[in-house]
């Protein structure tokens, strides 16, 4: 079967951790399909990302390092990816699920007339995959057919990739005239945080409407800081504007799977569970003993969070 091509995303001078999980997917899928896998990195100054992924057993790393990719523009990135598909002759194209890949891989799939599986959890065989539907209430086994196939991959379901042989790095000379595009980038206001991102942190402390007011989110942050963890939130408090939207965990937000997840004042709606059920150990703090969050919690503390959070924060380490 034909090659697999994995799109890798650069971040902070290196590679995104989720992209490493996508490379693991690539290694596994190439083995199942009896072919090899290539990587493609698109961006500006992506040398760090390229170095981080070239020793993972890929055949080639196609590098599109150009000022025109400094900001994300779906048309520009998709044309680069499309060029990479042509160069590698890949029949299967994948990347970790992200706001970038949802734009780029989906557009590519449309151009190729390829069907696409979003948020793949597991490889069943070379073209069969498990993926969630109905907020993870249902796990479907889907089969892709056709000579081009596309998928996004849920990073938390795939471990770090095994080291492998060195790939040949091919710098592709490719420029996009940004003036000719339909989209113009204006600005990015990044969420600045000293804390690890919830998708990669070992510990995530998440808060919900039970916190009552924006200023009480400090209780969540204090516990997270005590444990060197990241913070997360339910949709309810993102909607209310207490915390940035980027913190939403769930079906339609981020999916996290840390070693330890605290749900504080979160009821545990199915849409929230969809984003954190894969955590190794779940602690729920809620004053309502009937709250559905207790059904997935390893340790449940039925209590008023304002009574217990201060001592938890002071005593936990």
């Amino acid at each position: 079967m034909s090659n697999v091509l994995i799109m890798v995303e650069a971040a902070d001078g290196g590679v995104k951790k989720s992209s490493l999980s996508a490379i693991t997917f690539g290694q596994q899928l190439a083995a199942k399909r009896g072919g090899s896998f290539d990587l493609v990195v698109i961006g500006e100054n992506v040398g760090g990302a390229t170095d981080a992924v070239k020793g993972l057993g890929a055949g080639k790393v196609y590098v599109f390092d150009n000022a025109c990719f400094a900001n994300f523009l779906p048309e520009a990135y998709t044309s680069a990816l499309s060029k990479a598909v042509e160069l590698s002759g890949a029949g299967f194209i994948a990347a970790a699920t992200s706001t970038t890949s949802k734009d780029v891989l989906t557009k590519l799939a449309s151009q190729l007339g390829a069907s696409m599986a979003s948020d793949v959890l597991e490889i069943v065989d070379g073209s069969q995959f498990k993926r969630p539907m109905w907020a993870g209430n249902v796990i479907a086994t889907v089969e892709l057919s056709g000579d081009k196939q596309v998928a996004t991959v849920r990073a938390t379901e795939f471990d770090a990739p095994a080291a492998g042989g060195d790939a040949a790095v091919e710098a592709v000379d490719f420029t996009v005239d940004l003036g000719g595009l339909k989209t113009e980038f204006i600005s990015l206001s990044a969420v600045e945080s000293e804390r690890p991102d919830a998708t990669v942190a070992d510990v995530v402390v998440a808060g919900g409407r039970g916190l009552k007011a924006q200023e009480n989110f400090k209780l969540i942050e204090d516990l997270a800081d005590k444990l060197g963890g990241g913070v997360g939130a339910s949709r309810a408090i993102c909607d209310a504007g207490w915390v940035p939207n980027d913190m939403q965990i769930g079906q339609t937000g981020k999916v996290v799977a840390p070693n330890l997840y605290f749900a504080v004042g979160i009821s545990g709606a199915i849409q929230h569970l969809a984003g954190m059920k894969g955590s190794k150990c779940i602690v729920a703090i809620n004053k309502d003993p009937e709250a559905p969050i207790f059904q997935v919690a390893d340790y449940g503390l039925v209590a008023d969070l304002f009574d217990v959070m201060p001592s938890l924060i002071s005593d936990i380490k």
Binding site: K102, A114, R131, N137
Partner: protein, 262 residues
Amino acid sequence: MKIVAIIKRVEDPEIKIKIKGDGSGIETDAMKYVVNPFDEIAVEEAIRLRDTHGGELAVLCVGPQDATQQIRTGLAMGGDRGIHIVADNLLDPLTEATAIAKVLGEEKPDLVLLGKQSVDDDQGQVGVMLADKLDFAQLSFASKEESLESDNEKKKVAALKVADGRLESVREVDGGLETVSVSLPAVVTTELRLNVPRYASLPGIMKAKKKPIDTKNLADLGASEGNIKILKMENPPTRQAGTTVPDVATLIDKLRNDAKVI
């Protein structure tokens, strides 16, 4: 401005989904159906834009006969007319996008609004594919900076800014909020934080009954079966039941000595 809002008929997200014994699909007995929540947000934004800039709003749905109920909901909220492409539910997104593009190619809207994701198949593909098929600009995850409890939201001010043949919006991306401007015509997919959709009023519901719905058949639109097949459905792995702890000291002890996670 000519606007089309695209809506999908989906299972009510409040209702627990049960899988049929043979894994071939989900139980539909006593199921309630609603407009996909993200699409309600698309309809709401479309109404605000039409009311600000003038023009017309069509509500389009690809779905079974009964999906006229969801189209009527969109019309009761404020849509002017409906377009119903009759088809089975849970089609491949590529098939859906191809069929919708065929219809919209003739409609020639300035702006198409739809949800970023449908809460049944959770694929999140149709909007981007539709933009590609129509060769329209693509703006996904449209949102806004102000919270849903802001004054502008209470006044139902449109978040998408349209002027001089362009549309500007904030987008929710991993790690923050991005602002982009796209040329019209465009396809915009909506995030949860774009607005709070209105309920259909009783007079709205009465009026909606008289609004026209144009019906088309998927088979006539040249959208072939896509290349993705659902082979089976199963329940997710269940988590083992946990324990309740009486106090903070016990919790810390368990985390340290049993779970060994701190």
